[in-house]
Symmetry: C2
C-alpha cells in the first residue's frame, strides 16, 4: 500500500509520500514515490504515485524517455499542466493495457493513480489527481488537497487544518502528521517519508525537500508530541457526566 | 453507510452507532442500528449492524420470532455468547441466500455485518464481529475494540486511547469522538448517535444508554471542544524549522 498527499496553497504546492511497496508479504520494499521534473526558470513538475509499481515505474520511465528523445509531446513542450495530466493518463492507460489478459488467475491489478502538480512559466500552479481510467480532477477550492492510496486514516486532520491560506510550514507539518497517523493504523504504509514544498513562481528545484528516515529525530519528536498532545486534547473534553449525571 | 464501534473493557461493554442508512441518494433515512435483548438477571445481549438493511432487519426479526416461539435454538437457550454469534451468522447467511440471483443488473449486495456482545449468567462478557460469510472473530487483547461500516476515519483515536483497563467513561467519550470524526469526513454517516454501556455482571438493562440527536447540547460542545483542542494539539507540535532551518 501507499499513502501520498498533495496540497495546493496560495503560497505553493506541498507533496508528502511514504516509501513502502509490497508485492505479497515477503516482498516488502521501499521505493521513492515522489518524482520531480525540473526545467530551471521555465517549469517545475512533481508527481506522486500509488497502485501497481510496474505501471507507475513504466509511466515515469516513458516521461523521461519522451523528454530525452524530444517526442512530439513531452514535458518541455506542454503549455498547460492540465495537458501533462492528460498525457500521464494516456501513458498509464497504455501501460495497463499491455498487461491486461496476461494475468494467470484473479487478483492481478495493473491500475495506478497519480497526483501531478507543478507550474509552467506564465501560468498558476496546478494540481491534478489522475485516475487509473486516465481522466483527472483538481483539488476542491475549500479543501485544497488530494490524496491517493490508503487515504482515510489521515484525512480528518487535513479536513480540519488545510485551507488555501494555510501557511506552508503548517501545511507541511499537517501532511507529516497525516502520514504518521496512517502509518500507525496501517502497517503497509511506511518510512522513509518524503516532504517537498514548491513555492509559487520560484520555477526552480531549490525548494524545500527532506527525506525522513524511520528514526529521524524530528519525526520521532513529532510522533511523541502528537501522541501526548492528542491525549491531552482528549482528556480535556467535556465529561459524559454532563449527560449521564455524576453516577456514570 | 454506517459506522458502529463496540469496546470490551474490564469494566464492561461499550456500544456506539450512527443511525443513517441509504438506498440511493433520494432514500436517506435514519434507523436505529443498536438492538438489545434482555432477560433480567440471566442474560443481556447487544447487537449493532452494518450493510444491507433488509438483511439486518430480517435477522433481528427472526431472533425475536425464535424467542417468542421458543424455537429449538433461541437467545434464551444459548449457553455461550459464541453460540449466539454462530446463530446470528447462520440467520444472516440464510437471509442473504434468499435474495441471491434476484438482482436485476449488478450492484446489488445483500451482505450484512454484525457486532454482537453480551453476557450470560456464570460467564464473562464476550464480544464478536460476525462477517457476511457467517463466521466470527473476537476483539484483540491489546486493542479491545471492533468496528463495522465506515471504520477508518475513526480508528486512529481508538488505537491511541482504548485498552482493556480504560475507564468506561473515557471509552464512551472516545467512541463518540470516533463517531464524530467519521461524520465529519463522510456525509453518509449521520446522527442520531446511540451510546450504551453495559457494566460487567449487571445482567440488567438499566445500564447507561443515551441517544444524541444532531443538535444535542453535549454533542455540540464535544465537537467544538475537540476541534479547538485538536488545533491546539497541532499548533503545539515542534516546528519544521528544526529540520529546514529558520528560513522555512
Amino acid at each position: 500500500m501507499t499513502y501520498c498527499v498533495a496540497i495546493k496553497l496560495n503560497e505553493g504546492l506541498v507533496f508528502c509520500s511514504d516509501s513502502r511497496t509490497n508485492a505479497g508479504p515477503d516482498r516488502v520494499s521501499t521505493y521513492s514515490k515522489l518524482h520531480r521534473f525540473s526545467i530551471h526558470g521555465d517549469r517545475q513538475l512533481m508527481m506522486v504515485t500509488a497502485g501497481n509499481l510496474a505501471t507507475s515505474q513504466a509511466v515515469v520511465a516513458q516521461i523521461e524517455r519522451d523528454l530525452k528523445e524530444d517526442a512530439e509531446f513531452n514535458l518541455r513542450k506542454a503549455s498547460y499542466v492540465a495537458d501533462i495530466a492528460d498525457y500521464v493518463g494516456s501513458l498509464s492507460l497504455r501501460e495497463q493495457g499491455k498487461h491486461r489478459g496476461g494475468a494467470v488467475g484473479g487478483g492481478f491489478n495493473a491500475e495506478a493513480t497519480f497526483i501531478l502538480g507543478g507550474q509552467i512559466k506564465g501560468g498558476d500552479p496546478e494540481l491534478y489527481m489522475i485516475y487509473p481510467e486516465g481522466n483527472h480532477i483538481t483539488a476542491s477550492e475549500q479543501y485544497p488537497f488530494l490524496q491517493i492510496g490508503e487515504t482515510k486514516y489521515g484525512k480528518p486532520i487535513l479536513d480540519r487544518i488545510i485551507r488555501p491560506a494555510t501557511p506552508h510550514e503548517t501545511a507541511m507539518r499537517c501532511a507529516l502528521v497525516s502520514l504518521d497517523s496512517t502509518m500507525r493504523s496501517n502497517a503497509t504504509v511506511g518510512p522513509p517519508i518524503e516532504l517537498l514544498f514548491y513555492p509559487t513562481d520560484s520555477l526552480s528545484n531549490t525548494s524545500h525537500y527532506y527525506k525522513f528516515e524511520e528514526n529521524d529525530p524530528y519525526l520521532v519528536k513529532l510522533r511523541h508530541s502528537w501522541d501526548e498532545n492528542i491525549r491531552r486534547a482528549f482528556n480535556e473534553l467535556p465529561p459524559l457526566s454532563l449527560v449521564f449525571g455524576a453516577d456514570i
